[in-house]
Subunit: 298 residues, 2 copies
């Protein structure tokens, strides 16, 4: 079924009638197509559903293109990113092309679906903006972090579930919560992997987020646990290149206070709620997707 989505995306790209765009699109990694999978699992596979899944994946690809420019990221899924290969200008414009083509196609699907998806794009752009703003100082406010990852990551996954429920005529609420929890947990685990994985697995230096100024949940929890002196030490390392000694100190403190377990536990709680909701709704496949997410790389 996912192959029908791939073909639909390809058709949309060809309709743009621009050789450069076809060539550039071929350079984009497809990724896991998580959002399309959710949509198909929730809403089956009519043409409307395939189209919705295709537009959402185009929109997601657009957001990653802009995200890589924002983060100065030169790899994406272990391949060079479009901004690395062709520069920021091309990445920005290809993103705008995919966004607007996605919005155009949504007009012919369903007005409510279109509103849910376009609102999610506003949210994820606000989230990206807040991610940059929060990185300017050592953020210790968990609610700001949670709001930002909701906007940046969870909003489009939530919207995908909600849109699929609308298309399938199912009760929207459990699917919305399912999608939101999945998205929040996804980002929380991603942030944890930045701490627990080695550079090789990540394809970027370890503790990269902290070097970039991002105080993700583990740093917020660690800060809460540390003594005044150690707090100062942690804050002094924020947004700087870290020596091996500093890296080891941060990791040892995380270990001492069981920070990874605490953060992981919080992600797991969100996933457990999502699993329970889908068990109640009689959706074992969706429970399975949630289970797989919490198990990845741990």
């Amino acid at each position: 079924m996912l192959s029908a989505v791939e073909r639909k995306i390809e058709q949309y790209i060809i309709e743009l009638d621009d050789r450069d765009v076809v060539r550039l699109y071929r350079k984009l990694p497809h990724g896991k197509r998580l959002r399309a999978k959710l949509i198909l699992k929730i809403a089956g596979n009519s043409l409307r559903v395939t189209k919705t899944a295709a537009t959402v994946e185009m929109i997601h690809a657009a957001s990653l293109l802009h995200d890589d420019v924002i983060d100065d990221a030169y790899t994406r899924r272990n391949q060079p990113s479009i901004n690395a290969l062709y520069g920021n200008k091309t990445a920005i414009m290809l993103g705008d092309i995919l966004y607007s083509k996605g919005f155009y196609e949504l007009n012919d699907i369903d007005k409510n679906v279109s509103k849910v998806i376009s609102n999610a794009v506003t949210q994820l752009s606000l989230g990206e903006l807040n991610d940059v703003t929060l990185s300017e100082s050592f953020n210790i406010d968990k609610s700001l972090y949670m709001k930002m990852i909701y906007q940046k990551t969870a909003s489009l996954i939530e919207a995908s579930s909600e849109a699929a429920a609308i298309l399938a005529g199912k009760r929207v609420e459990p699917y919305r919560i399912y999608g939101r929890n999945l998205g929040l947990a996804f980002q929380m685990i991603d942030d944890l992997l930045d701490i627990t994985s080695d550079s090789k697995t990540l394809g970027k230096p370890a503790l990269h987020d902290f070097v970039e100024g991002k105080t993700t949940l583990p740093y917020i929890y660690l800060y809460e646990k540390l003594s005044a002196d150690d707090r100062s030490r942690l804050v002094s390392l924020h947004a700087k290149r870290l020596s091996t000694k500093d890296q080891e100190w941060i990791k040892s403190q995380m270990h001492k206070y069981h920070i990874v377990e605490q953060s992981y536990g919080e992600a797991k709680q969100l996933i457990d709620e999502a699993i329970e909701l889908m068990q109640e709704a009689g959706e074992p496949a969706l429970s399975g997707i949630a289970k797989d997410m919490i198990d990845r790389s741990f």
Copy 2:
């Protein structure tokens, strides 16, 4: 009436419920609101029309934000641009926020209007991409230039006229051609001003386009007229910093072959057609807007 559009945009911005965005939006120059003016003149001033004009101006502002990043432009209407003040990341994200909020609001106006506008955004993004690609070499193909400025500049003005005609229940065709011609002429004149104006009036160095690699219509026409030797000389200057002597040589050759007159004549022909169409349609105000455009700065 334009003030109702400004209030509606402000309301949309406030609905985003993000302090940073409100603050950033205040830094954006409003510009001439040409697209909103066209929409109001064509479709009167119901709430639907005001909303359409507001979304189109938000979308236009988004495109300028990305355009300034693409062009490394640090001023916009003689004020520092958002990318100059807050960096490219903020400009990209603010653009995405304005785009997606615009698309969201279009869902509640009219499906056909929404399709016309979102298609124009695809076109203008393709146009920006092609503008960059064409700048990589000395382009002598007029049809590629015309297609690019149609996409980059005319598409959203055309879409504004067409959308307004749809909302007003008027026959779409003459308004579409009017908008397209206006947009094409607007860009052709803008490209001419880069040659005829001095640095102070432009707020950027003279012959800036050519230095940036853009062979706009006058350069294409000049190339056609020059001898083989002079062609080589012109091509050798492409996309380089120009000495005063080189600048003077280019200007003198433009003068010798009446290139400005030729290019201006072509823009004027498009405007004359637009004026005639609106006279036939009994729209004197729209004829007036077209007349004003061809008269600016000449």
